[in-house]
C-alpha cells in the first residue's frame, strides 16, 4: 500500500546521497577559476626584489608599442607590454616584471596587477616552455575536450596548471577560442624561443592520440602543422569535401532590390 511512496522516497534519498557523494564534492571544490591566486606570495623565483628589465631588443619594441598611444595615455599600453614581458620571461609574469611594466607606463604597480589578474592569458605562475591550453567550452566539451585533457595530463604526468619536471610542458584550460567548428582544439603557446620566436598556434580537430603525437613532436623540436589535424578536412570545410554549395550560390530573389 505504501510501496509507491516508499519507492519515491528511496529514489529521492538516492538523489540526495549522490549529491553528497565524494565525486560530486570533489568536482564542486575543484571548480576552476580562470586564474590562480589573486594575491602574491613571495617565493625564491618570484619576489619584488629580483631585478627585472626588458631586453634591449624589447625596449625598441616598447617604443614602437608606445607610439600607438597618445603620450599622455601611456597606460593604454599596459596590456601589450604585459604580453611582451610575459614572452620575455618565458610565459609568465613575475612581480618584478609587472613592476617594470608599471614603470614604463608610469602608473602605480597595483594598477598593473589589477590588469594582470583580470586576464587569464597572463600567467602569474610558472608555465612550461610549451603551454598547452585545452579549450573547455561547450562545443569542444561535447566533442570530447575532457578526454583530450585527460590524455595530455596522463601522458605528461602532471595536474592541470602544473609544469612537467623538465619544465617543457604545462597544461591549462581556456575558454572558447573561436574554433568551435573544428572542435575539439588545443592551443600551444610556444615560449621556447623567447619573445622573438614566440608563437601561439591552434591545433584543431584533435583526438587523444593526436595530441600526444603533437606533444612528442614538440618535444623533439619539430613543428607539427597547425590548424585542423583531420586529414579529411580543409581548414574548417566539411570532412571529405563539400557536401553542399557546389556551385556559385544563386542570390535569393527577394534581395533583388531593383525588382522592388
Amino acid at each position: 500500500m505504501f510501496s509507491p511512496a516508499v519507492g519515491r522516497l528511496s529514489r529521492r534519498l538516492l538523489e540526495i546521497r549522490q549529491l553528497f557523494a565524494p565525486s560530486q564534492v570533489k568536482s564542486l571544490s575543484s571548480r576552476s577559476f580562470s586564474t590562480a591566486l589573486n594575491y602574491h606570495i613571495d617565493s625564491p623565483d618570484n619576489n619584488p626584489d629580483i631585478p627585472w628589465d626588458f631586453t634591449d631588443a624589447n625596449k625598441e619594441r616598447i617604443k614602437e608599442i608606445l607610439s600607438h598611444y597618445p603620450s599622455n595615455y601611456k597606460q593604454s599600453a599596459v596590456i601589450p607590454l604585459l604580453d611582451l614581458a610575459q614572452q620575455q620571461q618565458g610565459g609568465w609574469l613575475t612581480v618584478s616584471a609587472m613592476n617594470a611594466v608599471a614603470k614604463v607606463v608610469e602608473v602605480a604597480p597595483i594598477r598593473v596587477y589589477e590588469v594582470a589578474t583580470f586576464y587569464s592569458m597572463f600567467n602569474r605562475t610558472k608555465v612550461g616552455k610549451y603551454h598547452l591550453l585545452v579549450c573547455g567550452t561547450t562545443p569542444c566539451m561535447i566533442r570530447g575536450s575532457r578526454e583530450i585533457e585527460d590524455a595530455l595530463l596522463k601522458h605528461l604526468g602532471v595536474k592541470r596548471n602544473e609544469v612537467t619536471k623538465d619544465g617543457i610542458f604545462s597544461v591549462g584550460e581556456m575558454e572558447c577560442m573561436g574554433c568551435c567548428v573544428n572542435a575539439p582544439m588545443i592551443t600551444v603557446a610556444d615560449y621556447s624561443k623567447g619573445s622573438e620566436g614566440y608563437t601561439y598556434n591552434y591545433y584543431e580537430d584533435v583526438t587523444p592520440k593526436r595530441v600526444i603525437e603533437i606533444v612528442e613532436m614538440l618535444r623533439k623540436g619539430e613543428a607539427p602543422s597547425v590548424g585542423t589535424q583531420n586529414p579529411q578536412r580543409i581548414k574548417s570545410g566539411p570532412e571529405g569535401g563539400n557536401t553542399t554549395l557546389h556551385g556559385e550560390p544563386k542570390p535569393p530573389p527577394c534581395r533583388d532590390l531593383d525588382a522592388c
Binding site: 577559476f33 589573486n38 602574491h40 604597480p109
Partner: protein, 753 residues
C-alpha cells in the same frame, strides 16, 4: 552612512501602512472566522499583487525636504533644470546625477558604491530607479539628470530591481553579522532590511577570500566585501596612496594589495568609515563594543592645529573609539589616523592624584590642599621675575587665560606656549593664522610651502591641498628637507637661501608665482623655533607682497600652526617678556608642557607640572597636579584658521584630576591672589575682554591685513636647511606618546615610509 536607518524606518512604516490599509489579507486574518491558513510573509505586497501599486495614492504627501540637508546651489539661473521625482518637480543645477536630484527631492536612494566625495564607479547597482521612457532601470548614481526627466523611485520595477541586486550582493556575503563589528551600523544590514527580499535562492557554495594585512589599524575580513571599490577610490583619490586595487574578476574578484604591504597613509582609518560593510573595520576596536551601547559626544580633536570635528564614542568612563564628524570647512568627513586611534592613550599613564617629590626623589600622593599650599608657598618665595609659566600643546583657552592671569598677579609676565618660539608675533592675527582658510584652498592655483610638511603636520590640510590639486591641477612648490608628499611637487630647495632668492626675484619660480591667479604661501610653524625666523618671515612677506598674494579679495599668506593651543595662546597674548627666562627661572609652572627643553632649567628651580599624562616633563617636576584631558572637559580651542571651537566632556576624568583652569583658580585663592571667576561663563567673560573672537564659536573672524607696516627683510639668515618639524607623525604629544596603538603604528608604518 546613516542613510540606512532612516530609509529603513521610512519604508517600513509606509509598507506597513499599506498592508494595513489596502491588503484584504490583513482583514481576513484578523477576522475570527479565518477559513484557511495563510503564509503571511509579504514584504512587498505590490510585487505579489501588481495592481496594488496602480491604485491612486489617497492624497499627495507634503512637499519633500532634501535628504541630510543636501544643499542645492544654482549659480546661474539658466543652468537650472527641472526633473520630476515621484511626480514632484525639483529644480537642480545642470550636471547633477539622478541620485543627487532624488536627494534634493527628499528621496533617499539606497547605495553602496556611490560616495559624494569619491568618483563615481556605478558598480553596485543598488541605486537602480525607474526613469520614464527608459527600457531598463537605470543606475541613478551614474546617470546625469536631464531636463524633464521623470524619475520613479517607488515603483514595483524599481523595488524589484533593488531586491534583485540585494539578492546578488548577499549571495556571496557571509551571514556573520553576530560576529561582525559593523553590525548595527552596516549599510548592507540596513538596506537589506529595507529593500531586500526575505529569502534568497542561492544554494551553491559561498566563496571565501583571504584576509589582507593592511597594518595595525585596519582589520580586514575580505569575505564580507561587496566589491564597491570605495576603499580603492578613497586610497587613490583622497589618501593619495596607490596601494589598494581590485584584483581578479568574476567571483574570484577581491580587494587587495597583491604584493603584501601595509597601507602607509595617514588617512587610512577613513576606509573603515566608508566601507559599507564589515570588510574593513577598526583593529583596535575589534570586538570591544557594539555601536548601540556607545554614547556619542561631538567634540574637537586636539592632536594637531586643525581642530577636526570628531565624535567620541564612550561606554561608561571609557573612550571606545573616535569617529569623524562632518564639517565642510575643516575636515569634511575625514580624520587622520592619529586623531582616530590615539584614544587608548587617554587611558594609559594618566596622572590621577596630586603628588609631591620627596627628598628621596620619589613621588608621594598628597591631598589637593597640601599640594596647592606647597605650590603657593614656593611661588611666594620666588622673585616675580623668576616665575615662568609654559603652556603645553593641548591646553584650552580658559586654562591659558587663567594661568596668564595668575602669573600676572604674582608679578610675572613670563608665560608662553610651547612651539611659539622666542618673541612670537602675536599682534596681528594674520601673522599667525591660516588666512586663506582650509576650505579657501579650493580656489588656489599655486601653493608655496615654506618649511612645512602638511602631510604630517596637518593631514586634513594636506588632504585639502591634494583635493585642490586633483580638481584644478594646482601646482605645489616646496622649500624644506626632502619629504614624502602624496602629490606632485616641485622641490625648490632645502633652506632659507632659496627663500631669499625668491624674495629677491632671482629664482625661476618667481615667474610661476607672478602668473598665478590665486597663489597660496604656507609658512610652517616649525620656523618659529629658528633663530633667523624674523628674517624668514619678512622674506616670506616680501614674496607675498610682490607675488600679490595678499589682496583684498584673496588672502594667500598663511601660517600653518602645529598645536591645538598655539592660535589661542597667541590670541590671548601669551608672549614672554624675556627670551632667556627659562634659564633663570626659579619657579616653573608647566601646564601640560612636555616638549620644552628642560635641560637649561636651574637645578634648584621649583617645577610644577600640571597635566594629564606622566610624560617627559614629569621627570623634572617637583610637584604634580593632575588635570583632565580634552575628552573630559569643556574648553575652547582655536584652530589654525582662527576658528574657535569647543570640546565637550565625553567621559568623566580619572582619579582626583580637575580641569586645568579650576586648579589654577584654586591655587590663586591659596596663594592669596584671588582670580575673579568661579565658573566657565565667568572665565569666558574674562576671555571676551582679551580676545573676543575666541567666543565666536565655529566662526572665523577675518584677520585684518596691513601690508604697509611690515619691515623689509634684513638681518642674517642661517645657512641651515629647514628642519623636519614632525619627526614621527604618530607621536607628537602626551596623549599620542602614551598610546599603544600609536606606538605600534610608528613601529610598523613610519619605518616603511
Amino acid at each position: 552612512m546613516g542613510l540606512g536607518i532612516r530609509a529603513l524606518r521610512a519604508t517600513r512604516s509606509s509598507a506597513l501602512g499599506r498592508i494595513y490599509s489596502t491588503s484584504p489579507i490583513y482583514h481576513r486574518i484578523l477576522s475570527p472566522s479565518s477559513p484557511s491558513f495563510f503564509r503571511w510573509i509579504v514584504t512587498t505586497p505590490e510585487l505579489q499583487k501588481p495592481d496594488a501599486a496602480a491604485e491612486p495614492a489617497p492624497q499627495p504627501p507634503p512637499p519633500p525636504t532634501p535628504v541630510g540637508g543636501a544643499r542645492v546651489q544654482i549659480t546661474k539661473p539658466e543652468d537650472a533644470i527641472e526633473v520630476f521625482v515621484d511626480g514632484f518637480p525639483v529644480k537642480i543645477p545642470k550636471g547633477m546625477t539622478v541620485l543627487q536630484a532624488c536627494e534634493v527631492a527628499g528621496v533617499d536612494i539606497p547605495r553602496f558604491c556611490y560616495h559624494s566625495r569619491l568618483s563615481i564607479a556605478g558598480n553596485c547597482r543598488m541605486c537602480l530607479v525607474e526613469v520614464e521612457k527608459s527600457p531598463k532601470p537605470v543606475a541613478s548614481c551614474a546617470m546625469p539628470a536631464l531636463p524633464g526627466m521623470k524619475i520613479k523611485t517607488d515603483t514595483p520595477l524599481a523595488k524589484k530591481a533593488r531586491e534583485g541586486v540585494m539578492e546578488f550582493l548577499l549571495m556571496n556575503h557571509p551571514l556573520d553579522c553576530p560576529i561582525c563589528d559593523q553590525g548595527g551600523e552596516c549599510d548592507l544590514q540596513d538596506q537589506s532590511m529595507a529593500f531586500g527580499s526575505d529569502r534568497g535562492r542561492f544554494t551553491e557554495m559561498k566563496r571565501s577570500v583571504v584576509d589582507k594585512n593592511l597594518g595595525p589599524l585596519v582589520k580586514t575580513v575580505m569575505t564580507r566585501c561587496i566589491q564597491c571599490t570605495r576603499c580603492v577610490r578613497f586610497a587613490s583619490e583622497i589618501a593619495g596612496v596607490q596601494d589598494l586595487g581590485m584584483l581578479g574578476r568574476g567571483s574570484g574578484e577581491e580587494i587587495g594589495t597583491y604584493v603584501e604591504r601595509l597601507m602607509t597613509s595617514e588617512l587610512s582609518g577613513n576606509v573603515i568609515d566608508i566601507c559599507p560593510v564589515g570588510a574593513l573595520t577598526s583593529k583596535p576596536f575589534a570586538f570591544k563594543a557594539r555601536n548601540w551601547e556607545l554614547k556619542g559626544t561631538e567634540t574637537i580633536d586636539v592632536t594637531d592645529a586643525v581642530g577636526s570635528n570628531i565624535r567620541i564614542d564612550s561606554r561608561g568612563p571609557e573612550v571606545m573609539r573616535v569617529l569623524p564628524c562632518l564639517n565642510e570647512d575643516i575636515n569634511e568627513e575625514w580624520i587622520s589616523d592619529k586623531t582616530r586611534f590615539c584614544y587608548d592613550g587617554l587611558k594609559r599613564q594618566r596622572l590621577s592624584d596630586p603628588m609631591i617629590r620627596g627628598s628621596d626623589g620619589q613621588f608621594r600622593a598628597v591631598t589637593w590642599r597640601d599640594a596647592l599650599a606647597v605650590v603657593a608657598e614656593a611661588a611666594h618665595n620666588t622673585k616675580p621675575e623668576e616665575i615662568v609659566g609654559i603652556v603645553g600643546q593641548l591646553s584650552d583657552a580658559e586654562s591659558m587665560m587663567a594661568l596668564k592671569d595668575f602669573l600676572n598677579r604674582m608679578g610675572s609676565n613670563n608665560v608662553w606656549a610651547e612651539g611659539n618660539g622666542v618673541n612670537p608675533q602675536a599682534d596681528l592675527r594674520s601673522n599667525f593664522l591660516l588666512n586663506t582658510t582650509i576650505s579657501g584652498f579650493g580656489k588656489a592655483d599655486l601653493f608655496l610651502l615654506v618649511g612645512s610638511q602638511p602631510r604630517v603636520e596637518a593631514p586634513m590640510v594636506n588632504a585639502r591641498i591634494r583635493k585642490t590639486i586633483r580638481a584644478t591641477q594646482a601646482k605645489v612648490a616646496y622649500i624644506g628637507p626632502a619629504t614624502d608628499f602624496n602629490y606632485d611637487h616641485q622641490h625648490l630647495g632645502t633652506g632659507a637661501q632659496t627663500l631669499i632668492e625668491i624674495a629677491e626675484g632671482r629664482h625661476p619660480f618667481c615667474s610661476s608665482l607672478l602668473s598665478a591667479k590665486n597663489p597660496v604661501v604656507i609658512l610652517g610653524a616649525g620656523v618659529f623655533e629658528r633663530m633667523d625666523k624674523d628674517t624668514i618671515i619678512s622674506a616670506v612677506e616680501t614674496i607675498a607682497k610682490y607675488g600679490k598674494v595678499m589682496r583684498p579679495e584673496w588672502k594667500g599668506l598663511n601660517v600653518l600652526l602645529l598645536n591645538a593651543a598655539q592660535a589661542a595662546s597667541l590670541d590671548l597674548g601669551l608672549v614672554p617678556e624675556a627670551n632667556s627666562s627659562i634659564e633663570t627661572a626659579k619657579f616653573l609652572y608647566l601646564m601640560g608642557a612636555d616638549d620644552v627643553n628642560l635641560d637649561k632649567v636651574p637645578g634648584d628651580a621649583f617645577v610644577v607640572y600640571q597635566g594629564h599624562h606622566g610624560d617627559k616633563s614629569v621627570y623634572r617636576a617637583n610637584i604634580i597636579l593632575p588635570a583632565s584631558a580634552f575628552s573630559e572637559k569643556e574648553g575652547i580651542y582655536e584652530n589654525t584658521e582662527g576658528c574657535a571651537q569647543s570640546t565637550s566632556p565625553a567621559v568623566p576624568t580619572v582619579g582626583d584630576a580637575r580641569d586645568d583652569w579650576k586648579i589654577i583658580r584654586a591655587l590663586s585663592e591659596v596663594a592669596g591672589v584671588y582670580l575673579p571667576y568661579d565658573n566657565l561663563e565667568a572665565i569666558r567673560c574674562r576671555i571676551r575682554v582679551v580676545a573676543p573672537n575666541l567666543l565666536q564659536m565655529d566662526e572665523k573672524e577675518a584677520p585684518t591685513v596691513s601690508a604697509a607696516l611690515k619691515p623689509e627683510f634684513t638681518g642674517k639668515i642661517s645657512k641651515s636647511a629647514f628642519g623636519t618639524t614632525v619627526e614621527n607623525f604618530y607621536m607628537t604629544d602626551a596623549i599620542t606618546r602614551a598610546s599603544k596603538i600609536m606606538a605600534q603604528c610608528s613601529a610598523t608604518l613610519s619605518k616603511r615610509k
